[in-house]
């Protein structure tokens, strides 16, 4: 019995876009993680790494590698429906909302036409999914942010955002694992360690995981 597939090859007629001569950017839409898992499972020898991002993957070829028939075949393979269900762990993250821990919360709530308490309730009432990690090691882009809470990034980034800061950036909410500059609106902070390079699994949250915020 043949496997059920979406019938949709990853790379359609328009192909990929180059990012340098080692990077292949392919559009993956809502199936990004499923395609990531499919491509990783093929252990492509010419591919050094694959970055899942917001609706696209970047395949990074090894130095001097060309796009081999093996890579072409992998990119044109249809997705098995069984591979599209990516079910991760569920995490509860305790957050100290507002005050010094969340300096942008009052302005964001005002812009959303909500009280601070209602904004917190809404942020904490949602179950988010980790779409991908980026920006910093272990930084989760959490999808599922209610549209009323969404806000374009700050016009000028902060020089220093504290480690553990919970923030809003466009359609996403996220958590800064490490202190540093950042352009998202900071609404709270958690003591949870999101990234520890000494752990066997350095990133606490992995793509596909689900996250709920619990007010402290």
């Amino acid at each position: 019995m043949g496997k059920q597939t979406t019938g949709q090859p990853l790379v359609a007629s328009n192909g990929w876009r180059w990012v340098g001569e080692r990077g292949l950017r392919v559009e993956t839409g809502a199936m990004t993680l499923a395609y990531y898992n499919l491509l990783i499972s093929k252990n492509l020898t010419d591919v050094e790494d694959i970055i899942p991002a917001d609706g696209s993957l970047l395949l990074i070829l090894r130095r001097t590698a060309r796009v081999s028939p093996e890579v072409r075949a992998a990119l044109s393979a249809p997705l098995d429906v069984a591979q599209t269900a990516v079910k991760g762990k569920r995490h509860e993250i305790v957050v100290d909302y507002g005050g010094a821990a969340g300096p942008d919360l009052p302005a964001l709530a005002k812009r959303a036409g909500m009280s601070v308490a209602a904004y917190i309730d809404c942020h904490a009432a949602t179950e988010y999914t980790v779409a991908f990690l980026g920006f910093q090691p272990g930084f989760p882009y959490l999808q599922g942010l209610p549209p009323t809470l969404q806000a374009a990034r700050r016009a000028s980034p902060r020089q220093q955002v504290a480690a553990g800061s919970v923030a809003i950036g466009g359609r996403y909410t996220g958590i800064y694992p490490t202190g540093g500059p950042g352009g998202w609106h900071v609404i709270g902070r958690t003591d949870t360690v999101l990234f520890d390079p000494q752990r066997a699994a350095p990133a606490l949250l992995m793509p596909g995981d689900r996250v709920c915020f619990v007010p402290a």
Partner: protein, 303 residues
């Protein structure tokens, strides 16, 4: 063993980096010119993956209490040895017990690599000894060297030969060669003319995360887009239109349009850019970029 008598501006323990972990948001990092560090390693009989020092803009003063075998590659710095022996670049150096190696400023360029026989024996973190400064892990305590630091060397991998090495010819000259980026089509003629037609200056805020450029703003139609995977050499255009060439410790994803990607063969040249340097871009085809990436360093035994 090395004792740091005086630290340089930013001396970092580096090896080949930690590729394969970008899904965790961890860039590959590693030596900004991996071929230069690999060459220095070979000059001291190490495996290519051994850890050495990456030294930028202003070098350290290092003592070798038990002596040792060292090699320097990359930008030539004003340098001296307490023994009075010359500090040759691109060849094996034998240091006497107690000798002090002082590196001052680069004669041209920005970075050099120092390999020591046995390699620097700092702990491996996530599969690499490379320092990742933005998150403070790897290398020597996750930071640049400081005066008073002591670093130990591991067990040499291979037999020693006195060698000299030459970098690939024509490496450091001319415009930076790029392949058109995934969002090149979003830029209008004015933006593209600025990017490809005018010189940019390297800004002082540049580091291993990115080379920031200042010059004619590159206008574009859309300021932000969905975050996409990026890699060292990706040239992002933020809303102010001043290009940023992502570096070795830059983020693995970015939300600004990528107008171009510096070819692999020219990424090591980014390591030699310093504030005030002029940069121009020229496009080449992917196939030509692949051929250029295959250039090799050549070794010769010293009689």
């Amino acid at each position: 063993m090395i004792e740091v008598l005086r630290a340089g501006l930013c001396d970092l323990v580096m090896d080949v980096g930690r590729p394969g972990r970008r899904m965790l948001g961890v860039p590959a990092g590693g030596a900004a010119d991996p071929a230069a560090l690999a060459a220095a390693n070979r000059l001291v009989g190490n495996d290519a993956a051994a850890a050495g020092l990456e030294i930028a803009l202003s070098g350290p003063r290092l003592q070798f209490p038990q002596g040792g075998v060292a090699a320097l590659t990359g930008a030539r710095f004003a340098a001296r040895r307490s023994s009075g022996a010359p500090v040759a670049w691109n060849e094996t150096l034998v240091l006497a017990a107690g000798e002090v190696l002082s590196l001052d400023r680069p004669e041209s360029g920005c970075r050099c690599w120092l390999a020591l026989r046995g390699g620097l024996a700092v702990p491996s973190v996530m599969g690499s000894r490379s320092t990742f400064l933005p998150s403070g892990f790897g290398g020597h305590g996750g930071r640049a060297l400081q005066a008073g630091d002591v670093l130990h060397c591991g067990v040499p991998a291979n037999e020693m030969k006195l060698l000299r090495v030459s970098p690939p010819a024509g490496e450091a000259e001319g415009d930076l060669r790029v392949v058109a980026g995934p969002q090149a089509g979003q830029f209008d003629d004015v933006g593209l003319a600025a990017f490809f037609g005018t010189p940019y200056r390297v800004d002082a805020a540049s580091d291993r995360r990115g080379v920031r450029l200042a010059g004619t703003p590159v206008s574009h139609r859309r300021a932000e887009l969905p975050s996409q995977g990026v890699l060292p050499g990706s040239v992002q255009i933020p809303p102010d239109g001043q290009p940023i060439i992502l570096g070795w410790d830059g983020p693995v994803t970015g939300g600004y349009p990528v107008i171009a990607g510096v070819i692999t063969a020219d990424v090591p040249r980014l390591a030699q850019l310093k504030p005030g340097d002029a940069v121009r871009f020229v496009t080449i085809e992917v196939e030509a970029a692949c051929e250029l990436a295959a250039a090799q360093w050549t070794f010769k035994e010293l009689a």
